[in-house]
């Protein structure tokens, strides 16, 4: 788990252009040793291409790639101390599980006894002991996935690349394998670079993640950072529901920015969450679960951000209530409120006030709207 501060992977201004598309666009990235790092983004954003360049299967059009401080940009895959878990697993269908896992060790001319020991060990690690003599075709999808992981890890690479390794599994198995992979990573301490388009998966598994779009990194940070303080409108939307209001920054002072939202209210935003923006037009946001919805009466607490609106829809989901509110400037806002059973629920059509702590407010850079092909997240 613990990242050591040493840099294991460094991509420096890497671009990859195919005939008519720029798959990866001037990307710079550093991953620390021992980290579980995810590349997260909609399909087609360049995640696989990035991973393939690190693995050595694609050559960058521009830029350099370093592994463990060494420039490997021009090295073929078989000279890189990196192993990959392919999306399709890519097991050797003509070899047994044992020979699949032993393949890398045999290339390194490891002694027979050592091969035996290490293959057994890594099959235990992925919880598949006793499957040595099976063929891949005799395994379930989940088991094949484990063999693919064992086959890569047995080589004790500096870095393991995983391209949507759980994409082909059903939801239940996927959840289970997420925990397994996380456990394995903590056990072996190898750097994992993990590609996924599933934001929940990326957030539960990673120490840090990079959100990608159109071949560029939109934001890098710990899951909480990226979720609680998204830098762009795209990140805000991709990592979960968010409420965005348009406004104008009036002043930035004492670590707090004051933003006059179209339609009235002044909201306070921590300067750290302004992502470097000064006096300008911005979009400010807050996550739906950070908001408290109350009937619009009495004085608003001056310590909190608050806006008023009209309750449109109240949906009861059991553990929570979900409210849709017509807010200032004609914006629709969403609120998730835990079902404590204590607060009275206002009737649809009534005036409500939405309140939240200023430190839960963030400002984002506007993004172009999602293209249709990006939407399946």
């Amino acid at each position: 788990m613990g990242a050591s501060g040493e840099i294991d992977v460094r991509l420096d201004r890497v671009s990859k252009r195919f005939a008519d598309t720029t798959a990866v666009d001037d990307l710079t990235l550093e991953v620390e040793r021992g980290e579980f790092f995810s590349l997260l983004g909609p399909s087609g954003c360049g995640k696989t291409t990035t991973l393939r360049m690190i693995g050595g299967f694609e050559e960058p059009t521009e830029g350099t790639i370093e592994l463990g401080g060494r420039d490997v940009t021009d090295l073929p895959p078989y000279r890189r101390d990196v192993n990959t878990v392919f999306q399709s697993y890519a097991l050797f269908p003509h070899l047994t599980v044992f020979e699949n896992v032993a393949f890398g060790l045999r290339r390194k001319k490891v002694s027979k006894a050592e091969v035996d020991r290490r293959v057994k060990e890594s099959l235990v690690l992925v919880d598949l002991p006793g499957y040595e003599r099976r063929k891949p075709s005799q395994l379930s999808g989940g088991q094949q996935q484990r063999v693919a992981v064992a086959r890569a890890l047995v080589n004790q690479p500096k870095l393991l690349l995983l391209d949507e390794p759980l994409g082909a599994l059903d939801l239940k198995l996927r959840k289970q394998m997420q925990l397994e992979l996380k456990r394995i990573q903590q056990e072996v301490g190898i750097t994992f670079l993990y590609v996924t388009h599933d934001q929940e998966e990326a957030m539960t598994m990673s120490n840090r993640l990079a959100v990608m779009r159109h071949g560029k990194i939109e934001q890098i940070g710990a899951p909480e950072e990226v979720y609680d303080s998204p830098a762009t409108e795209f990140v805000a939307g991709f990592l979960g529901a968010s409420n965005l209001l348009e406004g104008e920054v009036k002043e930035v002072a004492g670590g707090i920015a004051r933003v006059l939202v179209d339609g009235g209210a002044v909201l306070r935003v921590p300067e750290a969450r302004m992502h470097g923006r000064g006096v300008s037009r911005v979009r400010v946001g807050v996550r739906p679960e950070k908001i408290r919805l109350v009937a619009d009466e009495g004085e608003a607490s001056s310590a909190r951000n608050s806006v008023t609106g009209t309750l449109r829809v109240a949906t009861y989901i059991g553990v929570s209530h979900q409210f849709t509110v017509d807010g200032p400037g004609g914006r629709t806002l969403t609120v998730y409120q835990q079902n404590m059973g204590t607060d009275p629920i206002p009737a649809p059509g009534s005036g409500v006030r939405l309140e939240w702590e200023p430190e839960h407010t963030f400002a984002v850079r506007p993004s172009e709207p999602l293209a249709e092909w990006e939407e399946e997240q």
């Binding site: 078989y78 990959t84 392919f86 890519a90 290339r107």
Partner: protein
Amino acid sequence: MILYLIVPIIVMILYSFNQSHARLPVVSFAWQGFTTTWYQQWNAIPGLTPAFLLTLRLAFSTMIVSAVLGTLMALALVRYRYPGKAFVEQTMFANIAAPEIVLGASLLGFFITLNIPRGFITLFIAHVMFTVAYVAITVRARLSGFDRSIEEAAQDLGANPWVTFVRVTLPLIFPGVMAGALMAFALSIDDFITSSFVAGSTITFPLWVYGVVKVGIPPQVFVFGTVIFVAGLLIAASTLVFQRKKA
């Protein structure tokens, strides 16, 4: 239907055990009792055994060279893009479709023009030419369904391109190579038309048989025929068993 296919084979086997006089006129075969004489005297006919051995040698060399060249052709066709690729592909099918007699005649012209003496070499060149496309086609069929990420996985695990080919690609396309090679062998061993053009004074088994048809076919011919057939059966059976085991 199966009878239709099997009758000539049965006749051949029967006559290899037929107690007839040697050199009966072809048309008047009649069953005269069981004997294994012809198996004991398989070597008794002058010229037949050398022709048969030459044919075997030719078929083996053709099979091996066609298997290698055909596999390379298939790789070139599936794996690479280059100008004229469609043309190569068309040529391959044209080669199979073209009447053998025309190919034989034009090859002969070609050899004469280049002043290559007719004999084993020209036979060999001709046989490779008309069998290589079969190998290329069967191997291509295996390759076109090939998941390239399996080869990438091999490289990822430290195998250079050569090791990747030997350890991963080749074993996976091998059934296609094998099928093509056996086809090449079968086509070569009984080829008559092309061989008759380019053989010069060299005599292959089919050419020898054709030469004696008018005089009468010695029963040893059926012996050799039966041996080839049984060998073929054994090979087919062993590949089946082999593939069962692997699966």
